[in-house]
Amino acid sequence: MMRYLIPLFAFMILAAFLLVGLTLNPRQVPSPLIDKPAPVFQLNHLHEPEKVMASQDNLGKVWMLNVWASWCVACRDEHPLLVQLANSGIVPIYGLNYKDERTTAMQWLKRYGDPYTISIVDQDGKVGIDYGVYGVPETYVIDKKGIIRHKQIGPVTVDALQKTIIPLILELQKQV
């Protein structure tokens, strides 16, 4: 009896591993930056190029950094949600315009709405590398101390907002 059961068990273990593997998304690469200080940057504004925004300006508040570009298809998907979130006043969203052209980016925001407190420009993607950006859109939640608390890879969804992002933001805002 045992000699037939052993291969069966071995197969079942293997099948269980493969089954779990099917549900994993290899594109969701966990970021090593979670719970680490957000990389510091100083970047020019999109609308007023002579102005500079530094990431440290946001110390003391919870904020979101949304990496987007006018050439990014999925960005159009999440955009109405970001506009809604910005209108709700829950959290300020800062837009990192990633490897884009200034005029096209500004037109895009005019057309689809501008949810960003400030839009900043990362023309050559250098800040993107610092933040571990490998696809667009990506969104970071950064707490009052400037620590990255969450990274959304891919478009923000209703589900992600309701279950993860907004509860997290409310929680972080309570902290001193």
Partner: protein, 176 residues
């Protein structure tokens, strides 16, 4: 409803558009000036072949996060272009290989390495195959030993041998 775009879509889309545009230009050129030989667009290479060599050696073992089955050295994705540019700059800034790898791991995690470090989470990855091999070898040895005990050498007596011979001879000549 929100369409479930993969956020890396843009790269293929963008490249497809680029490819289409290139083909169009190519066809136009063929029509307009059939006598002029067309040369392929040169791939930008760092001025310094030493830098290029080191960069290539490094990127050979790094995974492109956008096209995960390609190394950064092989990949033509924008992401890989940026990383190659970054590595070239760091080589020129006299960073050693370890510092450069650490720079990338800090931002993209161990996943960027094709050779992951030995850690509690990767122990099974590193030693799992060896463990399975040893288990298999053990099972084989046990099986062979048992079989040797089970199969006994059969010795025949004189009379039995004769009987065998006569039985064998009986069939000789007949069409069996």
């Amino acid at each position: 409803m929100f369409k479930n775009y993969h956020h890396y879509d843009w790269i293929s889309l963008r490249q497809m558009n680029k490819a289409k545009a290139l083909i169009l230009i190519y066809l136009l050129c063929l029509c307009i000036m059939p006598s002029i030989a067309l040369s392929k667009e040169a791939v930008p290479v760092a001025e310094d072949p030493e830098v290029e060599k080191r960069m290539l050696a490094l990127t050979m073992d790094l995974r492109c996060l956008v096209c995960q089955n390609e190394s950064i050295a092989d990949s033509r994705a924008d992401f890989s272009n940026d990383i190659r540019r970054e590595i070239r700059q760091q080589i020129k800034a006299n960073k050693n290989d370890q510092e450069i790898i650490q720079f990338l791991v800090d931002r993209y995690g161990d996943f960027v390495l094709y050779n992951p470090p030995v850690k509690p989470t990767t122990v099974f990855l590193w030693f799992g195959p060896l463990a399975l091999f040893i288990i298999g070898l053990g099972a084989l040895v046990v099986y062979l030993r048992r079989r040797r005990v089970q199969i006994k050498e059969v010795t025949l007596s004189e009379a039995e041998l004769k009987k065998v011979e006569s039985l064998l001879n009986e069939n000789k000549g007949k069409n069996v």
